[in-house]
């Protein structure tokens, strides 16, 4: 028996061997490695975005300071916002999903591994392109939503806004790729027995996120594409004198922009469910209600966008509809919070760092959610829109609502990813610094907005009386930055020196905890089966596995979408250089087009050649009839 197992393992190791060496970095198709790349890259961009924020806080620490000038300041907040939204928040969530979803549903890789590799490279190129231009002094400077006509050819000559619009196209393309991966993997590759009512809540949250991406991202790609055309080849989509409409730009942008917030936030809800389950040792209260809430949030997320545009002077009745929708979306989130509180109430709670971040989420996200209800009200919105009140609100929603759970998730899955435990003591110090620093930075901003401070001002006059609160907010940067730094130091140290974690240090319930930490390249020696909503807790002592799959090909089991009954076997591709090359040619097309329109044509031809390489059929003997 053991010898047989040993043989299978050896065969699987050979078949699923990761790509090695320098070239291997470009050809890798393993979802775990690509997932980790997403996470690490996104955290690098997070650090850059954080440094930009710190410089802005220094500039605003007192009235009429001269740390930076208006031109650089405007680049700073544009690049900060664009980085945090497009290069950090969305990709980091996607990276974690790319790593975890295949493991959680019990399969060996995502549905389209080459496409997955392509998605990462295109994201990386988008980020590098933006920062190359920024460091060359040509960072975009019209804000992260780049309203026309300010961002149009007349008022923003030069390459700055072109950089921004192409970066959007890159990163949204990568988000679309990931959403396809996640959806197909979650619906077609689940382990036998994992019917839809047994899917882990994190996977549900990523499925909802993926559907939102599929409907939201095309809107912004069209928007940034039209903007690029207006700028590069003088179309007039948004040019009022020629019949275009700048308000149309805003509608398209926010039709993406509001769902975007939920695209960042819903994965965080999934993290919380996983963490709460593991640390209360019971299933999350009200599974079906939780799933329904996620789906409801996903739909409602598309009905709120006009609350970003209340000051544009749209008709009153229409605005009331969006007020109602914006308020109602807090119902499903409220219900989920009640369900988690119920879970904790009835659970056997242990508090470790991931759980601390979840509790911080309860406290601070609540503030962000409640100020969100205020913003939904049209008259209140007229006063606080585009002020520091809004800046405070969305940082409470996005940092407390998404980044706190993300930090919790990083600690929670760190043992799975690295095979070692993080240092608990250090992580708690870091937690308290982050928690205190965050509230110090962002709470005063609510009051600043109420007493008249608009957002996106590079300075303010002393007689306005905003100096004190601004100084307080800037002071808070110190503990916040120190806390985040400590967290990174802790991860770096623990990766080498941490205590070995073993497969399941938290005694958690989902399938990824059944394999070694870090998991082998093939994830599961035998595809597992599932007997309940909590795969490991509900497993019989002799829970069967699927046998009879080939060990000499990269095979995965495809199952039916609803019941996860086995359907057929599917062979997945081996490492390949083509995804990198296609990403490269796509990148050349998009960058080149900014400088010379013909690059668009030339790049398309290059990309077509690269795609032919990608799809070139393999010479391989037909499988023997069996």
């Amino acid at each position: 028996m053991t010898e047989e197992r040993g043989q299978t393992e050896a065969a699987m190791e050979a078949t699923w061997a990761p790509a090695r060496g320098f070239l291997g970095w470009f050809t890798e198709v393993d979802h775990k490695r690509i997932g980790l790349r997403y996470i690490v890259t996104a955290l690098c961009f997070f650090t850059l975005g954080g440094i930009e924020a710190a410089i802005m806080r220094l500039q605003l620490a007192g009235p009429e300071r001269h740390v930076v000038g208006p031109d650089f300041y405007n680049q700073l907040f544009t690049v900060h916002g664009s980085t945090m939204m497009f290069l950090f928040a969305v990709p980091v969530m996607e990276g974690i999903a790319i790593y975890l979803v295949p493991l959680m549903v019990g399969t060996r890789n995502v549905a389209f591994p080459k496409l997955n590799a392509f998605g990462y490279f295109i994201y990386l190129f988008g980020g590098l392109f933006l920062y190359t231009m920024f460091f060359c002094g040509a960072g975009p400077d019209a804000g992260w939503f780049a309203y026309t006509p300010l961002s149009g050819p007349q008022f923003s000559p030069g390459k700055r806004i072109d950089t921004w619009s192409q970066m959007i196209t890159y990163t949204e393309l990568s988000a679309l790729v990931v959403s396809v991966e996640i959806t197909v993997t979650a619906f077609k590759q689940r382990a036998p027995g994992m019917s839809l009512n047994r899917v882990p809540l994190f996977v549900w949250s990523m499925v909802v996120t993926s559907f939102m991406i599929m409907f939201a991202m095309p809107a912004v790609m069209v928007d940034s594409g039209y903007l690029a055309l207006d700028r590069l080849v003088a179309t007039h989509f948004f040019n009022r004198p020629e019949g275009g409409d700048p308000i149309f730009y805003q509608h398209l942008f926010w039709f993406f922009g509001h769902p975007e917030v939920y695209i960042i936030f819903i994965p965080a809800l999934g993290f919380i469910s996983s963490i709460v389950t593991a640390f209360t040792k019971r299933k999350v209260f009200g599974y079906s209600v939780m799933v329904a809430s996620l789906v409801f949030t996903g739909f409602m997320g598309f009905g709120l966008w006009v609350h970003h545009m209340f000051a544009t002077g749209l008709p009153q009745l229409g605005q009331s509809f969006f007020t109602a929708a914006s308020m109602m979306i807090s119902i499903p989130t409220g219900v989920q919070i009640f369900c988690w509180i119920g879970t904790i109430w009835h659970g056997r709670l242990t508090i470790r760092t991931p759980m601390l971040y979840v509790l911080a989420f309860f406290f601070d996200f609540l503030i962000g959610g409640l100020t969100g209800v205020m913003l939904a009200s049209v008259p209140i919105n007229w006063q606080v829109h585009d002020t520091y009140f809004v800046v405070a609100h969305f940082h409470y929603v996005l940092i407390a609502g998404a980044v706190f759970p993300l930090f919790g998730a990083l600690h929670f899955w760190f043992p799975k990813w690295t095979g070692r435990m993080y240092g608990e003591g250090l992580s708690r110090v870091a937690f308290w610094l982050v928690f205190i620093g965050f509230n110090l930075v962002f709470f005063p901003m609510h009051i600043l907005g109420m007493i008249g401070m608009p957002r996106r001002v590079y300075t303010y006059q002393p007689q306005l009386g905003w100096g004190g609160l601004n100084q307080l907010a800037t002071l808070g940067v110190l503990p916040l930055a120190l806390g985040i730094l400590l967290m990174f130091v802790n991860f770096a140290l623990s990766r080498r020196r941490g205590a070995p974690a073993g497969p399941n240090p938290w005694d958690a319930d989902t399938l990824e905890w059944s394999v070694s930490s870090p998991p082998p390249p093939y994830n599961y020696l035998h595809v597992p089966t599932v007997a309940g909503g909590h795969a490991l807790w509900d497993a019989a002592p002799d829970q069967p596995v699927v046998v009879g799959m080939r060990t000499d090909h990269r095979e995965v089991l495809v199952t039916k979408a609803v019941d996860a009954e086995p359907s057929h076997r599917e062979e997945l591709p081996s490492p390949s250089i083509w995804p990198f090359l296609v990403a490269l040619t796509t990148g050349i097309t998009l960058c080149g087009a900014i400088f010379y329109a013909w690059w668009f044509t030339m790049g398309t031809v290059l990309t077509a050649f690269a795609l032919i390489g990608w799809f070139w059929p393999k010479r391989e003997p037909l499988p023997e009839a069996s």
Binding site: P70, N74, A142, Y147, P149, L150, R240, P241, D245, P246, T280, K281, R282, K283, V289, A311, T312, G313, Q316, S320, M327, M328, I331, G334, V335, F338, I341, G342, I344, W345, H346, G347, R348, L349, T350, L359, F362, L366, L370, V373, A376, S377, V378, P379, I380, W382, Q383, V384, H385, D386, T387, M450, I451, G452, P454, R456, V457, Y458, T459, L464
Partner: protein, 320 residues
């Protein structure tokens, strides 16, 4: 509830019915959301205490807990409906305020990068008043502001009188404001509009109807003629230099509208859209090299020697 906070541009210090209604609504929201916040935090803390004491988790979803979560959801919905109804009611009151009066006083506010043009239209064109970065209004009556822009999107925000409304190319937005008592209220552009968005402010000066009429009649008069030889030389310079490419002074050959109308520039409180107090030194600095004070400001530096500058200033300072 002002908590001793600074008030020159504050939503917490309303000075008219529109801002007052919105603040009242905000207070309702603040109270309801604070109650919700306290309840949820208390529940969370209680759950944590309870959960940490438990030796064995209760695995199934009990009826009691279902009832509790259900109650929570129902209360959430009830609170939201209350807030929604209050909000829509206030929205209607604020939105319909001031409408329907045919003798409505109208002011046109036009946004420019980065200053405000303020026009008081009059059926008789020569009685139209043009000024910049100051809106004078009579107290105690609704005033209709028509909002337009010459370039990008701006947003007019006078926190002590009303919420903001955008200035959008190709559209005219309307907003009604009213001040209850005389006073000076600072206002600022609230939609990012480029390099000097931070220095695009204005003041609203509310006056008793009598004072306001006096002000308006004075503004309708053409510019003062030079009273001294120095001022006369200043006017010559003004008309010879590139100034007239952008600025207007009624009663002279300067009638361009790209920059602020200077007919009564000396009567204004600030320069450069609220950036500087309007005094001799600031005016000198601004005229010599605007971009040094407000980087990106579109007025080019005009080469002049010292005496020429003094003559020009003497002329401008006489434009009361």
């Amino acid at each position: 509830m002002t908590l001793g906070l600074p008030g020159i541009q504050s939503t917490l210090h309303p000075a008219g019915p529109q801002a007052q209604r919105i603040l009242d609504l905000f207070d309702v929201f603040l109270i309801v959301t604070t109650v919700v916040f306290v309840i949820v935090v208390v529940l969370t803390v209680a759950a944590v205490v309870k959960g940490r004491r438990r030796r064995e988790a209760i695995g199934e979803d009990t009826r009691g807990m279902k009832l509790a979560v259900g109650t929570g959801a129902v209360l959430t919905i009830a609170a939201l409906i209350t807030l929604l109804v209050t909000s829509v009611a206030t929205g209607r009151a604020v939105g319909t305020f001031g409408g329907g009066n045919p003798d409505q006083m109208e002011i046109v506010v036009t946004g420019h990068q980065w200053w405000w043009e303020v026009t008081y239209p009059d059926p008789q064109a020569s009685n139209t008043v043009r000024t910049a970065n100051e809106i004078h209004i009579p107290t105690g009556q609704p005033i209709l502001l028509r909002l337009a822009t010459r370039d990008v999107i701006h947003s007019l925000w006078i926190p002590r009188l009303h919420g903001k409304r955008d200035l959008i190319p190709g559209r005219i937005n309307k907003i009604y404001i009213q001040a209850d008592a005389p006073g000076v209220f600072r206002a600022q552009c609230a939609e990012f509009c480029g390099l000097q968005h931070a220095h695009m402010s204005l003041v609203v000066i509310a006056q008793t109807p009598g004072d306001f009429m006096q002000w308006k009649i004075h503004q309708q008069a053409p510019a003062n003629d030079p009273a001294t030889p120095q001022q006369a030389h200043g006017r010559e310079l003004f008309l010879d230099l590139p100034c007239i490419n952008c600025h207007a002074v009624t009663g002279t050959d300067a009638y361009a509208t790209l920059g602020p109308d200077l007919t009564h520039v000396a009567s204004r409180k600030t320069l450069a859209a609220g950036t500087l107090i309007n005094n001799h030194g600031n005016l000198a600095g601004w005229v010599s090299n605007a971009a040094a004070i407000k980087p990106g400001a579109q007025m080019p530096p005009i080469p002049m020697n010292g005496p020429e500058l003094q003559d020009l200033l003497a002329y401008l300072e006489n434009l009361k």
